[in-house]
């Protein structure tokens, strides 16, 4: 069976035996095409980075907001829309991950409540980092906690920013702008 599979892949497989007829080793040769690496910008984030200081920086920014509380979702969504973002809301970590699936249209930023039941923000961020290495959205945590350990854990898990709850428009704007600018610096370096 292995031989058949390898032959389908246009490769070769053979076993070499020693003088007593026992199998000593297996060799496998497969052909691979070298992928061309395109200089693919991350969703054209460059559109969002070189804007002058105005809220047009966020216009058209695709954001997915995950928070299990209905009131918080409503308020945070409105704040983001006020900044010019296009917002999709979900109420769980699971929904968030399925919305980021490979067949869905890309989101630029994921804003994530840390304390959701079943799957918390840390877990969601960890999974996002694993599965979506190429088209990875920026991740910003939402938390009522001011503890340094919490913020540090956010960084460890690979998040790009943290916003303290209750969310204020100014705080949201500043953190979003900072996260986007940092991402831009990464791209151009």
């Amino acid at each position: 069976m292995c031989k058949k599979l390898v032959q389908m892949m246009q490769g070769k497989i053979w076993m070499s035996t020693n003088s007593q007829g026992y199998i000593q080793s297996t060799s496998l040769v497969l052909r691979f095409q070298i992928q061309q690496t395109f200089n693919r910008p991350m969703f054209d984030l460059t559109n969002f980075i070189d804007q002058p200081k105005s809220n047009s920086i966020f216009r058209g920014l695709q954001v997915i907001l995950a928070d299990d509380d209905g009131v918080n979702r409503m308020v945070t969504k409105k704040l983001l829309e006020k900044l010019g973002c296009q917002v999709t809301t979900v109420s769980s970590g699971f929904e968030c991950l399925s919305s980021l699936g490979p067949t869905m249209s890309p989101f630029h930023v994921v804003i994530l409540d840390l304390h959701m039941p079943e799957m918390d923000g840390f877990e969601v961020a960890t999974r996002i980092r694993k599965f979506r290495s190429r088209n990875r959205p920026l991740i910003i945590a939402l938390t009522a906690s001011a503890e340094e350990q919490v913020w540090e854990r956010c960084l460890q898990v690979g998040m790009n920013g943290v916003i303290r709850k209750p969310v204020l428009l100014r705080g949201l704007e500043i953190e979003l702008r900072t996260v986007l600018q940092r991402a831009g610096e990464r791209l151009s370096s």
């Binding site: 209905g70 009131v71 409503m74 308020v75 945070t76 006020k82 709850k165 209750p166 969310v167 428009l169």
Partner: protein, 152 residues
Amino acid sequence: MAAVSQLQRQFIEYTTSLYNEGYLDDQFTQLQKLQDESNPEFVVEVVSLFFEDSEKLLNNLATALQQKIVDYKQVDSHVHQFKGSSSSIGAQRVTNVCVHFRNYCEEKNLDGCLRCLQQVKHEYILVRNKLETLFRLEQQIVQAGGSIPMME
């Protein structure tokens, strides 16, 4: 038929007192600023959702604390949610009770929790009545042909 200016003055006085007495804080002001032509009922919508959710939470809390063996993690989870939603809309006194409530949950102090439940229910009913009065005042102003004064 009260004159528009009289209603507006009433509105300003009432709103100011709500802030001074700590029933509302800056988060509520932010909510009002978020309301615009594209979403003229935003504040009422959010606050109505808050009322609905709060009533469910209060019921869940009562049930959880009535169990033979109280699951304090569950109780804390409800209080955490209540703390979050109340702080989002600026219902400061409710949020403050929630903070104390969470401490009692951590200590697994049933007495403390039951007292906080009563307190948080009390504060919730107070703020609900105040907000309903505020919305009624707004309606009266609009019906009398006036505009609602912007609070700074």
